[in-house]
Each structure stands twice: as C-alpha cells, then as structure tokens.
C-alpha cells in the first residue's frame, strides 16, 4: 500500500549509487504531533523549573522548585511521622521508657543509628564487644547494669584505674597471683592458697573485693566469672600482663581502658535513648 505511494513522492534530486533517491516523504502525523508536543513540553518545563544557567545564577522557574527543598520536605514528613513518639519521649526517664513496650521498641529502632555511629566502632555491632572493649550484651557490668548506671556511663564516660605491680612484687608472685585469678574464674580459687594470700596482702581485695567479685563503684572487674575485661587466646599471659602493668596508670605499658564522655556530643534525649538501647542488648539489669 505505502509502497505504491513512494513512486509518486518527489525527491530532493540527490541520487547515490545510481538508484538511491532521497524522498520527500512527510513524517507521519503522529510523529509530528509528538514532536511539537515535546517542544511545548520543553517550554512549559523551562518556565516551571530551574532551567537556564546564567553567569552567576540560573533561572528559578515559577514553581520555585529546588532539590534541597524537596529533600527537606521529605525529611519533615518523616519527622512528622516520628513526632508523636518523640513528643512522648521528651523528658521521659529511661526507666519510664522501659516500662512501656511500644516506646521501648520505638526507642530501640531509633537508637540503632546512634549506636552504629557512636558506639559500634569500639563495642561492636549489637554490642558484641571487641578485643580490649567490653561486651555490652552480657550481664557483666564494670560500672553497673541498671539503665541509670548505663546512662551515667554514656554521659560522663568511664575510666577505671589499676596500678601496675611489676615494681612492687616479684615475677613469681605475679605468676602465683595470676594462677589464683585464673582458678577463681573457674570457681576453685581455694586450690591456689599462695595466690590467695598474695591477693589479700597486696591490696587486690581493696578494689576487687574480698571475694574478688568486683565493685561497681570503682569499676573494678568481677574476677569470679568467666568473662574477661582483657581477653586473649592465652588468658593466663593476659592476666599476668594486667597485674604487672595495671590499667590507665599513665604509663605507656599500662592497659588502656577509657570510655569517653558523650555529654557534649549528644543531646540528653539521645543519651537516654542509647541507654535504653544498650540496656536492651541483652544484659540490662
């Protein structure tokens, strides 16, 4: 059908390879309509939206649309969704949040990002701990596992202290002491009477308690359980090192165990949220 037409259509007079003529066929009407429609579309678009670059600026468009405004609008929409929860949480204590399971769930979801940004680098995702950094998901707390204590730890930071004993007692005594601490963690401290005597006489019990269970007041570690503040493949060597060099003494050889303060970095509300989050990791008391 259309083949017949082509014979009647004129050409531009350009002929290549003897018989290839350039025909003067009109484009189909639908094509022309879409062509003009797209020109109209461009004009409308240029009027409505930022379009033409000028030397120092650009045309703004009637609608005043900008990408950053759209982003801000979207953000405010999210904040609107959160607002009823956030308003409820305002001024609430961590303990009060924990009493309400819906609020607790919201707080955990919303504090996840905070924990990832501020805490997970040292304490591991999910509070799994890292070498040299305490596990937050267990029930062994240096400074107490109540949500108030946790909140205090986050806000004010923590820094325990243990003197190094290398200059005060002999290497053999350190070995005996370490053997006693190892036995204590397995529940049979009595099997190491020499170490036990040293434990009492060298002043260890002053901080770690007469039974070695630690004190939250001072952040001294509980030595009677299987959880180590400074764990290692060779735990005995690790214990000896800690006894010899101490913790946070200021010496280069000492163990370093400082939890920074977040009071000036996070709002009080965020700290409360984080306290709830950490409390719910698995070991809160």
């Amino acid at each position: 059908m259309s083949d017949k037409k082509t014979n009647q259509v004129g050409d531009t007079g350009h002929v290549w390879d003897d018989n290839l003529r350039e025909l003067l066929n009109e484009p189909p009407r639908w094509w022309m309509i879409s062509f003009y429609a797209s020109i109209a579309w461009v004009l409308v678009y240029f009027l409505l939206y930022p379009s033409i670059p000028l030397i120092n600026s650009h045309t703004k468009g009637i609608m005043g649309w900008t990408a950053i405004n759209e982003y801000k609008e979207d953000l405010s929409k999210i904040e609107q969704v959160r607002a009823p929860w956030e308003n409820k949480l305002k001024g609430m204590s961590a303990a009060a949040i924990l009493a309400d399971s819906d609020l607790t769930n919201y707080t955990i979801s919303s504090a996840k990002v905070l924990f990832g940004d501020r805490c997970a680098a040292c304490h591991g995702a999910g509070g799994a701990g890292n070498p040299g950094f305490p596990v937050l998901a267990d029930d062994d707390w240096l400074f107490g596992g109540s949500v108030e204590s946790i909140q205090e730890s986050i806000a004010g930071g923590r820094q325990g202290m243990m003197p190094g004993y290398a200059s005060q007692i002999s290497a053999t005594e350190i070995d005996e002491l370490a053997n006693f601490v190892m036995a204590l963690s397995q529940g049979n401290g009595d099997s190491q009477p020499a170490g036990k005597a040293l434990f009492d006489s060298s002043g260890c019990s002053g901080c770690h308690g007469a039974d070695g269970a630690g004190m939250h007041m001072m952040g001294s570690a509980n030595l009677t359980d299987g959880i180590w503040r400074f764990s290692s493949q060779d735990q005995l060597e690790s214990v000896k090192y800690t006894i010899a060099n101490g913790v946070n003494t200021g010496e280069d050889t000492a163990r370093n165990a400082i939890m920074p303060s977040f009071e000036n970095q996070l709002s009080a509300g965020d700290i409360t949220k984080l306290a709830v989050f950490v409390h719910q990791l698995g070991g809160g008391q």
């Binding site: 017949k4 998901a137 029930d139 959880i227």
Partner: protein, 472 residues
C-alpha cells in the same frame, strides 16, 4: 526462493488481504441486533458484572462486606480477614481462574469472550445505547455520513455523555472495592478524594470510553492476549459456532416461483444475516477464525431465517470439527485434556478451602540475633537473643504464653508474664534463652518456641529456631 524473483511481492500480500478482509478500524461496525437464545445468554453473562457495580455496597456486621484495604494491608471478605501472610492463596485463586478459562475454552471455545468479557460486555451496552439513540444500523451509517445538523449534534452529544458517564461509574465502582464505599462517594461528590483515586477513575473512564466506544473489536483483534491464547486451546473436539458447509453449499439467492429441487443449491441463501449481526464483523461461513468471539449471535440470526424458509435450524450451530467431519465425538469425561484441567482446578479449590480453614489466629516468626550470636553470662551460662514476631490475626486483643523447649537445662527469660498482642498486627518481643555452658555438648541446638493463647489454648503456634554456643 529462485522463483520469487519474477513475482512482485506486493501481489502476494494484496492477494492475502483480499482473501480475508481485515478490519483495521477504518470503518465502524454497526452490527444488527436480533433476538434469540444466544442474545439472551449474552445478557445473562453480562449481568454478572452487576456484582462489580453493586458489590461495594454490601454490608456485613456493620462493615463493608468485601474490601481490599491496601494501606491497612488487609483483605476483608465477609467474616474472613486475609493478611499479606496468607496471600499465597491468591496464587491458587489465579490458578483456578486460569485453568477454568482453559477448561471452558477447550470444551466450548471462547465462552469468556462471547458472554462475559468486560470488553465485549461493555461494548454490547454501548452499542445497545447507540441503537436506542440513533436507530438501527442502516440509520446509524446514514447519520455518520450526514452533515452536522443540530439534531445530529444533539444525538451525538447525548450518546457520548452517557458513554463517559458509564466510564465514570465503572472507574468509581472499581475504586470503591478498595475503601469504604459511602465515605468514598462523599469524597467524590465533594471533590475531596485523594489524587490517586482521581487518577484511577480518570484512567478507567478514559479506557472504558475509548475501548467500548471506539476500538471495540479492535481490542479483541489487536490488543487482547487472551483472544490469541484461547485460539490455541481449541482442538477437534471443541464445540464452536460453526457453519455447516455440507448443508449450506453451494449457497445462492433464494428465487421465488422456482422449483426448489431444481436449483440444487444448499440451505444457505446468502442473506448475510450472520455477517450483519456479528459484533466483530466477520463472516462465520469462512470457517473458524481469530475474530470469532464465539458469542453465537450468528446462530440466532441464521435460525430465524431457517424458520422463515422452512428449513431445519442449525445451519450455523455449536458443533465440533469432529462432528462436521463425521467422526465420533468422545464425551467430555473421556477427553484427557479436560480431565487434567479439571484435576488442577480441583487441586486449587482444595488448596483454597484448606487455606481458609487453617487461616489460624496466630502466626509466629523467630529471628535469632546474629550480632553477637551468643554471649557468655557471668553465671557461666550461654545466652542467645531472639526476637519473636507474633501476628495476632483475630480482631480482638490477645494474651499469650511463650515457652521454649529443646534442652533440659534451658531457661527462657523475658516472657515470664503473658504477652499482650494487639489485634491485626505484628508485635515484636525480645526474649533470651540461657543454657549452662557446661551442659552444652554441641555448637548448635534446635530450639522450639511455642506461643499459646491464654484464653483459647487451641490458638497456638510453634516455630523452630537454633541455639548457638562457643565451639565445643
């Protein structure tokens, strides 16, 4: 193709076009409307669509009986509430309809197209209106060609207005299935409906108007996949509206005062009534073809003529190819294809019935915390953390007890008191399982959680999870 050189390719194609006239929409088909059995059946078939228009107003227990609540992610069908978790049944519903189409098509052709399809049903209503307003086909053709007088404009404006109104009603009725019907009507009438509803109504109105008003049979010819699909489901045993050419041929005009027996003509008197009534404008006497929607209107038309000329009815009738060829026709139950189709249909029905009966009141998923997998507690036990996601599918608040089994020294922490479950949503609860490390003999241990309604203990679910501990 050495011979093709000499032939002009165009002549072949032209010959094909002449062989079967193809309607590309250049001419509007104005089909004649004749009464008869199949005409009546078509009305009955189309009237099933009244459910589409009236369904949203059905009430049940003070609520809309059938509602597809997309934002709330719930389907309400009378007493039953189906949540996304049960949507696997939708697959069976789709399977049911797909196989029903296949089974019906293999037995009696395009029953769907002819009697039920929204395209042909809406077109039928549109042309019925056209006939009421503009008169029978001949008059309609004349009117189309007539110059634009005030009368023509008036008739056309009324017709298109009613068409658009039907389209609008179609669109609105569709949206009513997804929300509370009276509320949505109020929103439409006060122009307060959400943008998405307007867009849906607009789309439906536009396509109803264009498809049923203008494109009509072209939708069946060029757009509809089912038209193509069903054609390949026929076999020699499928009954279809068929022209009995042994009886009809040679066809010829019936002449008065001529001895019938001397004419040696068949029963077809070339009155072309079968063509005149065909909504897709085909000639059934050319045999089975893609344009035939098997609506049977040509059968009605032909039977009237056969009665008039005192010949037996059924020159065009529902018949299989086997019947036409004089071969024996097996009964439906002896046709393997039909049996397989019905077997699958029964399977899907059984599945849906099973699903509806075991919808259950509770659903439980247990997520094991992976960071950390396990934690050593100060009492020497290993603790694993789990999040129980409990879905309460009933419409009342529930209280459930949680228990865990899998180890004799296991201790479940965090679910000592019964847990509250608000209705219709998933409630997450964190629980801990502790087992003394000394009592564990393997790294992993299966743990079974059980959630049980306090008041109705039959409402219970179990879920298997794992307990992880340090390498042994």
């Amino acid at each position: 193709m050495s011979t093709a050189k000499n032939d002009h390719p165009d002549t072949h194609i032209d010959a094909l076009y002449h062989e079967v006239p193809i309607n590309t929409g250049g001419e509007t088909i104005h089909a004649k409307r004749a009464p008869g059995l199949f005409r009546t059946l078509k009305w009955y078939g189309s009237s099933i669509w009244l459910i589409f228009f009236l369904g949203p107003y059905l009430r049940w227990d003070g609520k809309q009986a059938v509602m597809f609540d997309i934002p709330g992610r719930q389907f309400h069908i009378f007493d039953i509430t189906i949540l996304p978790q049960d949507v696997w049944m939708l697959a069976l519903v789709l399977l049911f309809f797909a196989l029903l189409l296949a089974a019906v098509t293999s037995i009696a052709g395009r029953v769907f197209c002819g009697y039920f399809c929204f395209q042909t049903a809406w077109t039928d209503v549109f042309t019925w209106l056209e006939e009421k307003l503009e008169g029978p086909p001949l008059q309609r053709r004349k009117l189309d060609q007539a110059p634009w007088t005030s009368k023509k404009i008036r008739i056309k404006v009324i017709k298109h207005a009613i068409w658009i109104l039907i389209g609008l009603l179609t669109g609105i009725s569709f949206t009513l299935w997804f929300g509370d019907a009276p509320t949505m009507w109020k929103e439409y009438l006060t122009l307060q409906a959400p943008l998405f509803a307007w867009v849906t109504v607009g789309t439906f109105t536009f396509f109803t108007y264009v498809f049923a008003g203008f494109m009509r049979e072209q939708v069946c010819f060029w757009l509809c996949p089912y038209a193509r699909l069903q054609g390949i489901m026929y076999d020699c045993e499928t009954i279809l509206p068929t022209y009995d050419d042994r009886r009809g041929e040679p066809r010829g005009k019936l002449k008065k005062n001529v001895d019938e027996n001397n004419q040696k003509l068949g029963d077809c008197i070339e009155c072309k009534q079968c063509v005149a009534v065909c909504p897709t404008g085909i000639d059934i006497r050319d045999g089975q073809q893609e344009g035939c929607i098997t609506c049977g209107l040509c059968i009605d038309a032909c039977d009237v003529i056969m009665d008039k000329i005192k010949r037996p009815r059924g020159l065009i009738r529902y018949a299989s190819l086997d019947e036409m060829e004089g071969r024996p026709q097996p009964t439906i139950l002896k046709r393997p294809r039909v049996l397989v189709y019905f077997g699958i249909i029964l399977f899907s029905i059984a599945g849906i019935i099973y699903g509806l009966n075991t919808l259950g009141a509770l659903e439980l998923k247990v997520l094991h915390e992976r960071q950390p997998l396990f934690v050593l507690q100060s009492d020497g036990s290993i603790q694993n953390k789990y999040v129980l996601k409990i879905l309460n599918k009933t419409d009342t608040v529930m209280q459930v007890n949680v228990s865990a089994t899998g180890h004799p020294d296991l201790k479940l922490v965090g679910a000592e008191e019964p847990l509250d479950l608000p209705n219709g949503r998933v409630s997450p609860y964190t629980v801990y399982v502790r087992i003394p490390n000394a009592k564990l003999t393997q790294d992993t241990l299966p743990i079974y959680f059980r959630v049980q309604d306090v008041t109705t203990p039959e409402h219970a679910v179990e879920y298997k999870s794992m307990f992880f501990s340090p390498k042994k």
